[in-house]
Amino acid sequence: MDNIAGKKSGLSWAVNISVALLVMLWVFPTAGLFVSSFRTADQISSNGWWQSLFNTEQNVVLRAADPDDDGVQVLENGTYVIRGNLYGEAGKAEIGAWGVNSREIDTHVAGDSAELGDGQVITVQANGDYVLTSPTEMTGRGQRVFATAETPPEFTLDNYRSMLFDPNNIEGMAKAFFNTLTVTIPATIIPIVIAAFAAYALAWMDFPGRAILVAVVVGLLVVPLQLALIPLLRFHLNIGIGKGYLGVWLAHTGFGLPLAIYLLRNYMVGLPRDIIENAKVDGATDFQIFTKIVLPLSFPALASFAIFQFLWTWNDLLVAKVFLIDSTGQTTVMTNQIVELLGTRGGNWEILATAAFVSIAVPLAVFFAMQKYLVRGLLAGSVK
């Protein structure tokens, strides 16, 4: 538009920067969760996730091997010697300054030696290697070393391992993941089938009261599902469904129908009249027109609604809490599991972040794969 009338905007750099800032602001929160889910509990609580991407300088307390353990001390030329690495293996961190006293933690640099009294001397290298020598046999616990170390970024898959694949972890997400899947798939497919037929009738069949029915559907689009909780729960308890998968599937079907009918009807109305009338002239019944012509042509609208309903049922908490999850907790879904973890494990971010990311990974994948249909559905679904 800026090129219109020979004008060129001089502000395009400003636009680029603003958009970049906006995008960063919007991605930053999710990135935090993603990065945190790959860090250990200690790492998460020691510094912010945004620092974990770079080398960090940390003050740590390390300990040399315990002299009382077998084979740690060796006698070399009359002196007792302990060798080893403060980190267990070399290369985990770069020690800058160190000390042997909690009040003086940076009196020595890497490569230096420090006197410990009684003739004991310790030498610490940058990579954590140390040599501790003593004229007499050493006893007691391992020597403490206070170090300021440069730690490279370090990530782990352990969180996912324990949250997804550890059968002994009662807080694991594996079961909730399958429960969510069990809720979602039927709750996505059934309303599509029911709504498609109704939408065809509302779009292409002539009968008295059609306009009123369309208006009713539009009205129901807006009704908050909060109103339905108690009457329907009572209804389910009365007819013997109780709390369970059947109840939640039925509830999701009912709540999803208005949008499904509205979206599909709007799309079907737009199909070319000629095709349908020609088919009628050729002797096709309404059922044939619907299954052979309208349904295949409506695929984009079907896909749009399927994505909506999938995201909505996958992400739902309220309906699952009311209609599905009973006191045994066997049928918990991921959103509910996360809320419970928020209550019991409020500070354990490695658990929370992993649990949350497991639950949002699938919708995100669906989102990026089918974004086209989602946008199309949004544009058609917002009441004009």
Partner: protein, 411 residues
Amino acid sequence: MSPALQGLLTILIGVSGCIGYFYFSNQFLDKVLFPATGKNAGRNINRANMVRPWLFLLPAMIALGLYLVYPVFATLWYSMTDRDAGNAFVGFDNYRQMFAQPKFWEAMNNNILWLIIVPAASTAFGLLAAQLTDRIKWGNFAKSLIFMPMAISFVGASVIFKLIYDTRPVDTNQIGVLNAVWLQFNGGVGSFLILRLIPAALVACFVAALAYVGYNIARKRLAPSHKQGSVFASIASAGLVSLCLVAVIIGLKGFFGLFTFDFPYGVPQTWLTTPTWNSILLMVVLIWIQTGFAMVILSAALRGVPEETIEAAIVDGANVFQVFFKIKMPQIAGTIVVVWTTITLTVLRVFDIVFAMTNGQWETQVLANYMYAQLFVANDWGVGSAAAIIIMLLVSPILVWNVWNVRKEMR
């Protein structure tokens, strides 16, 4: 039987049941009830075609009736009965009891704040993002990233933002971004600029915009040349004007508050337990999610603005801002209303965010969560249903407006 297998079976039974119903009921209609043969063939075909739409609609109508229409009336009934007294009719007792609870009024107040701030902020950010991303090469990529939170559940978003709002004791590293940023402020010039001046300017812009809208609506209504419209339209515009007025007053209070407020610099804050701020921080979660939606719809509307109108304005010497506010805005006003009302509906239903982050403690209660607490924690179905009816009442203007529009369109 494992739930997964049960699910698979349900899909099979559900889908084949539906298709079977449609197929066989059609067959029954054509072959048995009104066969298109014999001497009554013509009459039978007509009759079959009169019945068929209802065959197609029946399952949907049963489901809608049972799961959405019936509950509205049932809830209305429950809100006027007492469960403990054997479901006896008690009139408006439950409402009276609810209006006497301070928690209810706290929820109402918060909901008004939510209803003003979230749709306004989401629409404004969405409009900004739409306008900006349409002008650059990597706009579609940027759009899909801003749109992404739409796919994230409210619960997932709550965890994401709880990490951002996390608080650690004073002399330790803050792992929540908000506190880490907060500790950078020290009360100097930068703090004044970022914490007082810029927000105040934003609030002032918002207040001015609202006042302008309200003034215009009022002026149009009160102008002597104005033809008396329907009662409904008058009520609607009166409601809008008073809503604007309330928003302006709240905005002005906020504006002066920003300059007089004593910020506790240098101390990590427990954000979610500080009243008023915590509500706003919860709103941020929803704004973060809804902005993408507003952006997608508004971007499509902006692209639909005819090029000629823009070209003509540029030829006439309009600058970028004039093009935006005088040419584009009036043409997408209808879409803005749609976005606004859709987000308003989402706000009224929002439950998960408050439930997961604060559960209504520290004065963050909202109606939907209040209702849930009444129904399933306090086990008071009467008051819970009354709260649901209040939500329904708040929704109903939008319901009427939508139905009215669709009927107008179909005529």
